[in-house]
Symmetry: C2
């Protein structure tokens, strides 16, 4: 008779002797329900020859039990604690304390702790950073994404839970804490969005007397130092790409550079085309013809794949995409074939290095739109090909990339003649573009940089404005924001603020990629569901109106029709989308 | 011509050459206002013989400047950045980013970062603890102290900002994360209380399969390991004292053991007294006569000191205290002298080891009340004596003490026939007292322990209840709490929860004692004022009613009379006071 005992270090096999003297031990252990907590003592012995289990770290030994004590019994489980047992996420979240016992969750949370510890060693012990805690009961930021409110005991006065310690980290630079970091809890109320959490964690860093390269090498060293030792080491420096290049080549500001399938501008091939459709497209401002070669696409992609690709293009981009199949007979099988003459076909074959069995996706339109479309389809095709067994992206490969030279401003949604910050209003303009601020601000590039890993934005930062006058000009004149909400920061810059810059890494997303977890909820001990609910404790919850009184608030219950409307109308604001770099997602 | 340059490492003297070639450098540096940011290059040279400054780490060298650049200019300061310049705290908080430049604030924040880093090394690297982040958007706890509310987008539903990760740390133990720690942000809405912050930080620890001694040695090792190397090393183990002993000897549950002046029970001396006053006191339940000898009190304390001591006793304890002055003529000069016969006087002299020039404080009454009174007066006298130049408490001395065996329950305020938890409802009863739970619960001691440093509670913890049935009995039957708010925790205990226990150290208070700062606001980068306000950014702040709409709340503006009443009526609840261990403070 044997049983398997588990603790946080792993499993061990326990043998119950069959003699009479062990009767009470046997009774205790046999009657203890699965997942009960027992304390045993006994002798560690070798397993009998032939019964060793080489797959188990403790597979060569077993424990011959002498005493046993039932410390706590376990009632009937809602699911078995085995990784191969499938359970719905709702059930896992409801019984999170049981789900945490799984090998995978134990691994994820322990690795997260270890990796953050290595980051702290790197920053604090090796690079002289100071870990400073900043408040989370703060002031709302002007024009920012939605912030949770916290009613105070002063009637009509509220704190806000900040989305990041942005203002505090800059104020620390003014205060002479020249190298700041914090593993910072941040809050963002985005309503119901998959794979987002109302509270999340970022590795938050700010330095004085630093430039873009300085921050970048620091982060490269940080990731290399803290990377799990059982993975391929991180190779530094990371490659870098401008925003313009990323958009033109990958159709996104967060390219997945683990595979090629780049977007190619083939406008020149069609300069003298007789096709009116293409001529029309090329005549428009920033009109282009773009293509992307999907290797072996003609071989692997099915009719329904192509249909879904074309549907995605029209649904989300209101744009046509034309597939071209390069069949063995070297004929181009395509609705586009009729307006591609032989000379153009040869030129395209040369530029795009197409081969038999490839598929080309072709589109015409405004540069950014055409790129975004192909960028989206690039990921879609990769996904489809992988579904057909083609190896495109090595799961053990970690492909880091810096994306730089973002625009400083974007046209404001709803009023495109006004500007809004592409990232946030404290980002410094690119030194070469400073003069354009007063003549053509929409052309100014910023000193913002994003860190991308395998097609996911895992960090972003910038060199900040340290000149109060310039900051005031951008806030009031260009962005037309209410600068009074930031008067303390503007004033601080006036008292000898050093040049400074920083970055924030999204820890949840990073851990999700490092562990290969399917969702960020798998690297967080007690995550909220899609709807921002804690399913274990039923949160958020009603509060007796007595408890609202000290905060001078009352609930405004929506009418039935309002409640219905509310459900339908929630779409994330433009700024939210920009901040989250989901610009090109559909 | 010279100037002094400051960076985060310290100061250095810069010499400006007087020759023509340095004219532009000279202009830049001479015109830069105080506290401006400059970048200089130059040669490091020895100071001329006789001009070295041995008090300055860089006092042997200076920099002969070659180039200079003004990176940012500083406008007129509201106060000079010099530690000796006195400024009001309101001004310091308003310009916190300037105040942070002071030597003292730089030291406090950097030491805090270093000490926390050492604690992390100890827990994470040396003792296998896992750093787990727990949510701060959570559920309100039943009957707890006041918690901030966070309105959600679901009408009438709220999150609460938890006062500690108590429930999560226990759930992690159920989840098999057997050694948890977190530098946890906690929230407590205590309205306006001096030296408290609405958000604060605790070193939060929980372990499975541990007893009280296990947690205590862990914490002793933790403090020894992380203690600043320029202080006297921490001596372990720390002494331990029961709650009953602490109350009887020091009149408080957080004795300052840096000095003696203990409370002595002199009831036996007066068993056969003829004084009716004393007889009355001794006849009452738990009636006692107590005394405390203030060394050299007769020499140093003035008439007005004694008056203030007696006033404190009557004002806050509604109790008489009688001073006895031991003058050189060995006569007892006291209002108590008339009822102390010679034999009693000799006995008292022997028990209390009184000497000439001492003062004895004498009181009679119920044990706890008499002790609390003398405990308060003990600190008062120490303060007064130190004000007269007597050295009682060595400022470099750190006197740690464990206080153990607290009562599990206290009589409920307002309804003393019911019980409430002395600490929190998850505290396990003392193993020797388990049987009393069902017969005389008010007599049950708990497995709670407090860590006291120099008379301040810097930590507290307990072995927890891991049995769902016992937890349910205590919550529902004994405490009559709404257990549905904790159903998830009760359920979790039923699924094989291991025996577990933990502790939390108050980091702000600890750093305050380590740095010798006068207030916890001096070890926090951006603290709130007494009233919970951020004076720099003017928080909490009004919010446009439009921004309240998504959260389905509106402000209930108080009428003028309500507003007036509110100001007067706020007194912290009994539970608050118990939780904060200010039981005996007046």
């Amino acid at each position: 008779m044997f049983l398997v005992l588990r603790d946080c270090h792993g499993l061990v096999q326990v043998i119950i002797p069959q003699d009479e003297s062990a009767a009470s031990v046997k009774k205790i252990l046999c009657e203890a329900p699965l997942e009960s907590v027992v304390r045993i003592s006994g002798a560690v012995i070798s397993r009998p020859p032939g019964q060793e289990n080489p797959k188990m770290p403790t597979g060569e030994i077993e424990i011959k039990v002498k005493t046993a004590e039932l410390l706590n019994s376990c009632k009937k489980l809602p699911f078995e604690i085995k990784d191969f047992v499938k359970k719905t996420e709702a059930l896992r979240l409801q019984y999170r304390y049981l789900d945490l016992r799984s090998v995978q969750m134990q691994y994820n949370l322990r690795l997260r702790s270890q990796m953050v510890m290595k980051m702290r060693e790197y920053l604090c012990n090796l690079h002289g950073f100071v870990d400073v805690e900043t408040p989370t009961l703060f002031k709302r930021t002007p024009g920012g994404a939605r912030e949770f409110l916290v009613p105070s005991r002063e009637p009509g006065k509220f704190y806000s839970l900040p989305q990041s310690p942005q203002q505090f980290k800059q104020l620390l630079m003014v205060g002479g804490l020249d190298r700041y970091f914090q593993v910072a809890r941040c809050y963002r109320d985005e309503g119901s969005r998959p794979d987002r959490q109302p509270e999340f964690t970022q590795i938050d860093i700010e330095m004085s007397f630093v430039d873009q390269t300085g921050i970048q090498s620091l982060i490269e060293g940080l990731l290399q130092y803290s990377w799990p030792s059982d993975r391929d080491p991180v190779v530094i420096p990371f490659p870098s790409m401008t925003f313009a290049e990323a958009l033109a080549t990958y159709g996104t500001d967060k390219p997945d550079t683990r595979f090629g399938m780049k977007i190619i501008d083939i406008s020149d091939v069609f300069r003298n085309t007789k096709s009116e459709f293409l001529q029309d497209a090329l005549r428009k401002p920033q009109g282009t013809v773009k293509a992307m070669c999907v290797r072996e696409g003609a071989k692997y992609l099915k009719r329904k794949d192509i249909e879904s690709i074309r549907k995605c293009a029209t649904d989300h981009f209101n744009q046509e995409v034309l597939p071209v199949f390069l069949k063995a007979n070297s004929n181009w099988n395509s609705p586009a074939a009729k307006f591609i003459v032989e000379e153009q076909r040869l030129e395209l074959t040369r530029i795009m290095e197409t081969r038999e069995e490839d598929m080309v996706l072709l589109t015409a339109g405004e540069h950014k739109k055409a790129c975004s479309l192909l960028g989206k389809l690039r990921l879609e095709c990769a996904h489809l090909l992988e579904g057909r067994g083609v190896v495109l992206r090595d799961p053990t490969c970690f492909s880091f990339l810096w994306v730089v030279d973002f625009p400083l401003f974007l046209p404001k949604e709803g009023n495109p003649r006004e500007l809004e910050s592409a990232h946030h209003p404290f980002t410094a303009p690119h030194p070469s573009d400073g003069h354009l601020l007063y003549t053509a601000p929409e052309k100014v590039r910023s000193q913002h940089y994003d860190l991308v890993l395998n097609g996911n934005e895992i960090g972003g930062g910038s060199i900040r404005i340290h000149d109060a006058e310039l900051q005031g000009y951008i806030l009031s004149t260009l962005l037309k924001e209410d600068a009074t909400l930031l008067s303390h920061l503007l004033q601080a810059l006036d008292y000898g603020a050093p040049p400074h810059g920083g970055i924030a890494l999204g820890l949840d997303r990073l851990m999700c990629l490092v562990t290969g977890a399917p969702s960020i909820r798998d690297v967080i001990a007690f995550p909220k569901s899609f709807q921002g609910r804690d399913l274990m404790s039923n949160v958020p919850d009603s509060v007796p109106s007595e408890e609202l009184k000290p905060y001078h608030i009352q609930v405004s219950w929506p009418t039935d029709s309002e409640a219905e409307k509310r459900k339908e109308s929630f779409t994330p604001s433009r700024k939210l989308r920009v901040l989250s770099s989901v610009l090109h997602q559909c």
